[in-house]
């Protein structure tokens, strides 16, 4: 493509954000919707223009305008899918905030547009420091979104969100400074091929880990997430769960694994340990939540643990599975937060006990909610199943104990989601106001239906999403090959019996 599409995708929402500040509330809504839809169009063009099986880095731009680092952009398949996820969720977020945000609408829309620019920037930056700037700058709009438009306890949540993530990122910055000195470059693709001394790798890995583990979030530094989610407005939660959490996983796959393969292999036990605790512990915590958003927030932590388990399995199934979980979780947990938002807008409470029997008066809503509940549980045919299955297969190959513990997470996941669904959609309504709630409006249809379609698509034909990422996973595996720890599965090539069976079956049919 001849025009700098990635720069346009970053600068357009920034320009629109500045513009919306000067508009009236209604005009700001339309401007934001128009911009995000335009960006979605550009995202589709990006996907369409991406040459699957072509060079690893495409749409590359490089302008050394900052002296010490440059405006270097470019994407591989992994970044492409995450950008597409971001631009897909954004118009939905704007629609979801259409009526529920009443005060300071232009500023709200501007903050969201800014967020979008920064997210695209994070996924497309090819310069380490440019990445850091985008990565860190996202704190400002998100801090404002939680703090201004959040719930009752929003101040504490916004501080927690900001300071936790800032602390993690700053340690990463020190590591980046050292790396740029050592390798003499800030170019991410070059750094991905650079062999850092093994003894330094451990420190660097830990510094990056501090940042990505907080962002992910991994147990035990996940505590900012439930607070932030509960207090953020619905669209804020969608973006937080849908895209911002993916930055942690993206960081692992872009920095930790390829740049420090030896350290990653050394510290696999740490990641597995933390992830195993997260899967079981946060699932149990989710089971006893009284607040719907908190429940889904804890389920996010549990799902993100599948991502880390898959990534550190050091094999194709694991890594591809982790990527699929990231995409699927982005859609499904985003949709679940939207579902909560729909009923929150009507009753202004997130307390589960205040609902019940919604399948009677809100049948369409109950249908969507069930659909996403099932997707979250990992029902085959829906998005999460593909990723979780692959991640577990990969984990089993690496360490069967981890796989066994992680699988209990799926069972617990089914337990807390179904329990939530029963309490909200079935049984007797908690009050007259609950029973009188209207079913979803056309606008809410517009927010939920596209996600449902995408979830189904991802579950039925994941190849569309896996294909662009396949070569990138291959190059990552090549990079990891020398360091990958031996799994405990002791794989052996299968015997050719299957073929004979196949031929026999073939013969019988005649």
């Amino acid at each position: 493509m001849s025009y700098p599409i990635l720069s346009i995708m970053i600068l357009l929402p920034i320009a629109a954000a500045i513009l919306t500040l000067f508009l009236t509330a209604q005009a700001a809504r339309w401007a934001a919707l128009g911009t995000t839809l335009g960006l979605f169009g550009l995202g589709v063009a990006l996907w369409h223009g991406f040459d699957v099986g072509g060079p690893q880095w495409q749409f590359v731009e490089n302008a050394p305008i900052f002296g010490r680092f440059s405006w270097a952009l470019g994407i591989d398949g992994i970044a492409l899918m995450l950008i597409v996820l971001s631009v897909f969720l954004m118009p939905i977020c704007i629609l979801a905030s259409w009526t529920s945000i009443e005060k300071r609408v232009p500023e709200y829309m501007a903050a969201f547009l800014l967020m979008e620019a920064l997210m695209i920037g994070v996924f497309s930056a090819q310069d380490m420091f440019l990445f850091y700037i985008f990565f860190e700058a996202g704190l400002i709009p998100m801090y404002l979104i939680i703090g201004i438009w959040g719930g009752a306890d929003r101040i504490k949540a916004s501080y927690k969100f900001f300071l936790y993530t800032l602390f993690g990122s700053l340690l990463m910055l020190v590591a980046m400074l050292w790396m740029s000195r050592e390798a003499g470059t800030t170019d991410i693709p070059s750094l991905m091929q650079y062999n850092f001394p093994v003894e330094a790798q451990t420190w660097l890995w830990l510094a990056f880990f501090a940042s990505f583990a907080v962002k992910m979030p991994m147990w035990p530094v996940h505590t900012w997430l439930p607070d932030a989610h509960v207090q953020a407005p619905t669209a804020g939660s969608v973006i937080l769960a849908g895209v911002l959490l993916k930055m942690g996983g993206y960081g692992f796959i872009r920095f930790s694994l390829p740049m420090f393969p030896e350290a990653s292999a050394q510290l696999v036990w740490l990641v597995f340990g933390m992830s195993m605790v997260a899967v079981v512990y946060t699932s149990l915590v989710a089971l006893v939540q009284q607040d719907m958003k908190k429940l889904i927030a804890y389920s996010s932590v549990a799902h993100m643990a599948f991502v880390t388990i898959g990534l550190f399995a050091f094999n194709r199934q694991g890594i591809e599975g982790a990527l699929m979980v990231m995409l699927a979780h982005g859609l499904v947990s985003g949709a679940l937060f939207l579902c909560v938002g729909v009923i929150y807008d009507r009753l202004h409470t997130r307390e589960i006990a205040r609902y019940g029997g919604l399948s009677n008066n809100m049948p369409y809503y109950a249908l969507f909610f069930l659909f996403f509940t099932m997707a979250s549980i990992g029902l085959p045919g829906l998005a999460n199943f593909v990723g979780e299955f692959l991640a577990l297969v990969g984990a089993y190959e690496a360490n069967s104990w981890v796989a066994a513990v992680a699988t209990t997470g799926i069972i617990l996941g089914a337990a807390y989601m179904l329990y939530l669904y029963r309490r909200v959609a079935f049984g007797a309504p908690a009050g007259e106001d609950t029973a009188a709630m209207r079913d979803i409006s056309a606008r809410e249809w517009l927010t939920l239906a596209p996600i449902a379609a995408a979830t189904l698509w991802m579950g039925v034909y994941p190849e569309s999403f896996l294909a662009p990422m396949r070569n990138d996973v291959t190059s990552l595996l090549v990079r990891l090959e020398s360091a990958a720890p031996a799994g405990d599965a002791h794989l052996k090539k299968g015997s050719p019996k299957a073929d004979a069976h196949h031929e026999a079956a073939h013969g019988e049919a005649h």
Binding site: I133, I140, I148, F162, L163, F167, L177
Partner: protein
Amino acid sequence: MSVIDSLMLTLPELVLTGAALTLMLVAAFAGDRATRLINAGAIAALIGATLVLGREGVGFDGLYTADAFSNFTKPLIYLAAGVSILLSTRFFAAEERLRAEYSVLILLAAIGMGMMVSASNLLTLYVGLEMQSLAAYVLASFMRKDARSAEAGLKYFVLGALASGILLYGISLLYGFSGTIDYHGVAKGLADGVSMGELFGIVFVLAGLSFKIAAVPFHMWTPDVYEGAPTPVTTYFGTAPKVAAVALLVRVSIEAMGSAVASWQQILIFTSLASIILGAVGAIGQANIKRLLAYSSINNIGFVLVGLAAGTEAGVAATLTYMVIYVLMTLGSFACVLQMRAADGVHVEDIQSLSGLSRRQPALAAAFAIFMFSLAGIPPLLGFWAKFVVFDAAVAAGLMPLAAIGIAASTIGAFYYLKIVKIMYFDEPAEAYHPVTSYVESGVIALTAVAVSPIGYLAIPMLGTATAVAAKALF
């Protein structure tokens, strides 16, 4: 070098001296009525002094050095001094009355500061420093009818005199043990191992200078003086003398003590970390915006010292970059503080009065938020770049623990900057402020806000080259 050549080197100082004396005469004859004219004259003199900069060489037999380093820092000092004059007119007209001596005092201080950065001899250093300090003591107590201002002036004077004494003692020790007061001579004296007497000299000189830059543990005067002094004077204290004192410290450390890096590096590392942490922790409980900014300046000086502690050319360049960005952020923040006026026009300093500013005056709140995020070092604002370069220099010099602790401690600092943003953006609106009336002040706010916004990143290559050239002059 002939006397004429030497005098030509000091042309900026000569221009300022001539202007200061002339304007003082104008003030004596025309009185306070001519204040605006005198202010304009003073600014013209500062611009003139900037324009005649550029000569390089060593004058007066090594007493005075004009080089790329001094030519880089002087415009920054003159800029800060000029803006402090610009910001003063409306403030003094509203608070007490315009008085003509203000800009003359600033000019006299600017001469002293010029000598500080150009000093290559311990006595020139002392004379320059005292010239700047004496003007500063008067400026701190400039509001004659205000008890706080008088108190600030007195405090500043007593503690400043003490610090000058310590500095002078250090200088005398260095002189006694190395036999010279010339920077290069002292460096030669230190090169063959640091004797106990020389070490004491170094410690005392650093202690005296730490007072001038308000670094922990010699920072105690800062919050009181910042709070008590009239806001335009606080703006001045926070910028120009800081630049001059840091530049002076850099030159002394590198040129005079450069052969004994190991003996002062640990002192600077301690001072730096202590300033970062104490500046951050001390600011948390503050209710007065000027006190908060005072702690913020202590915190920032800590980061500046990180660059200097590296002791390398890159470290000096980083220090200079930090000072440029710091001056911009400080000028902008104080210009915002000057807009904090109750409906009747009286200036307020209570942080709570900022409540809900984003709904009362969105543009002002946005600018203030930009300065706060920038001071906290959050990208994409330019304050991040300042921290980036100093930590980069520290990492390159192998000071990993300093970098890691310093950078982690900046999270504490982020907390109170966030508090201001929180008050402006999340809280319910308080009583409305007097609307912004001065074009000059809104212009200063707008320009500095744009400069520290991401647009400022485009200036990085230029700034990088200029600071590198300036730093090279010292090595």
